[in-house]
Amino acid sequence: MAGLDILLQNVANGVLMGGVYALIGIGLTLVFGVMRTINFAHGDFVVLGMYSAVLFNALLGWDPYLSLLLAMPIGFFAGVVVERFILSRVVDAPPESALLATLGISLIIGNAILLTFGGEPRSVQVSYASSTFSIAGVNVSMVLLLAGIATVIMIAALYALLNRTEIGRAIRGTAENRLGAELVGIDTRRIHSIVFGLGVMLAVMAGVTLIPLLFATPTNTGAVFTLKAFVVTVLGGLGNVGAAIAGGILLGVVEVLGASYFMSEYREAYGLIAFLLILLFRPEGLFGRTVKRV
């Protein structure tokens, strides 16, 4: 009886945490799917989102969710600028160049935040930070639930954008075959800018929803989130938005269950081990279509 309760509680925590991981992963996978670029700065954009919430809270007293109204468009715009001025110049260079460019952007963001805000951890106090409520004997954290709801809304919006709009069709076309898309008159450069903007916007949003839960620090958190995003997307299949959701939830559950039933010190390692195993034996991801090993 008790065992089952604990299992349910663990799975619930894992799924909710996984929702946040999914939100972080979607942006990375969207960018990879369309641009074939692995964005090493993704986690730093998440951290940028956290600090934007900190900033709006300090200056205007806003709740993090309110600051999304400003943070998301700014994030989108920042992404477009980065794509236009940096990444678009390396699309045709060897794939490593884009990876190195994003690594550079990552270092610049992290250290610029460090210079601006200093190194001590920052957070935003919200009244609901530690409130929980229980459903059928399972305790649910308010913050995680809100993040989960935000994830669901965002995914629905993204789904609608990709499947119901003209731009969405162009994005999917570019992802499938850039040359082909260009032949039918799609401006793939513009699509790349939009997609990178969306990716950064998603990262920023994940950061904002996380700030009531986690402290933001300038340089280390970014790398942690980038790694989490990699794990999520590789679990699901790089470039596959739907699978990133499943990958996020899977990572959340694997971490929580691994930590409660095996060695809790290795909580972080379980996801990494799963990540390595999948890279090695199913590089297309658990849910991806079979792709040729490149």
């Binding site: 990876l99 690594l103 550079g104 250290n111 460090l114 790398a223 010190e265 390595l276």
Partner: protein
């Protein structure tokens, strides 16, 4: 070839005289030399062989931990533990490579981050061996020929010997069969196979050598630090620093990584007061400059221009 040997001679001559001329600037010089050695070792795999690792801090950490634990728990002298670390790093590189070389490009880089992170977690959590998150302290060291290994001068000469040794190895390799095998595999694995080269074996050898050399520098670093903390020595940032030093200086060139170390550590020192601990900002800016404007790195672009000029002259005359 002659040019490179002269370069090596100049490095050694300047190095030997350095502590007498700049006795107060030894720590930064040690930093330059260690990074030169690490980046050159990294380059055997990342530049000459084209497999970009973002996990080389693992080998630095391995060397440092071997020296520190060997000394503090078993009373083993650092030269024995460095040799053991190099052997262990080569074995680790062998299995690591076996696992990950079936992956290409960014997937390989990603997998190296994951393996390095797992090693870091092991170092933090296996307290009985590593001292856990607090780390290990080197309290005593042997005094070979009466040399105090805790003195900065002795450490400087160790770092100099390390950097010079690695560069000498690369010079020797670059002109021989192995050097061409490395480059052929980097350029085109199928075409390399058509020349009778086993790509996997080549990459494994490069990885093992690169890992072993890096760990020797790690052992020296352990002595320099005297206090080894897992979050410092196994940091992803250190792995990134090593890779970027080589790439900014010029991948697959003999002097590129060393020049990169000089430029980056030097710039870091110059802006130390401006940027304080945010000095990785320089790495970020320079890697963008290199990717956008100097894709072969500093030395790579210079060498390229030199070759073009020679060629243009020959075509005219």
């Amino acid at each position: 070839m002659i040019k490179h040997l002269i370069g090596l001679g100049v490095l050694l001559a300047v190095g030997i005289a350095y502590p007498a001329i700049f006795p107060n600037n030894l720590t930064i010089a040690i930093s330059v030399l260690l990074f030169a050695g690490w980046a050159t070792s990294w380059d055997l795999l990342g530049g000459w062989n084209g497999q970009v690792s973002l996990g080389h801090a693992s080998f630095v950490g391995l060397g440092a931990y071997f020296v520190a634990i060997g000394q503090s728990q078993f009373g083993l002298a650092p030269w024995w533990t460095m040799a053991m670390a190099a052997a262990f790093a080569a074995v680790l590189g062998y299995f690591w490579g076996q696992l990950t070389f079936s992956l290409r490009g960014p997937y390989f880089s990603l997998s190296t981050i994951a393996v390095a992170e797992i090693l870091r977690l092991v170092a933090i959590n296996e307290e009985w061996l590593t001292g856990g998150a607090t780390g290990v302290f080197i309290a005593t060291l042997p005094e070979p020929f009466g040399i105090d290994l805790f003195s900065r001068t002795a450490q400087f000469y160790m770092a100099l010997a390390f950097a010079a040794m690695v560069i000498a190895i690369v010079i020797a390799i670059s002109r021989g069969r192995f050097g061409y095998q490395l480059r052929a595999v980097r350029e085109d694995e199928d075409s390399a196979m058509a020349s009778g080269i086993d790509p996997t074996a080549t990459k494994l050898k490069a990885f093992m050598l690169s890992a072993a050399l890096t760990s020797i520098g790690g052992g020296i670093y352990g002595i320099v630090l005297a206090f080894i903390e897992p979050h410092v020595i196994f940091a992803l940032l250190l792995s990134v620093q090593i890779a970027l030093t080589a790439i900014i200086g010029g991948r697959g060139t003999i002097w590129g990584p060393a020049v990169g170390a000089l430029v980056l550590v030097g710039a870091g020192e110059m802006f130390r007061t401006t940027f304080a601990e945010a000095n990785m900002l320089i790495y970020g800016i320079l890697i963008l400059v290199v990717v956008l404007f100097l894709p072969r790195g500093i030395v790579g672009e210079l060498a390229r221009r030199h070759i073009r000029r020679l060629y243009a002259k020959r075509a005219q005359g």
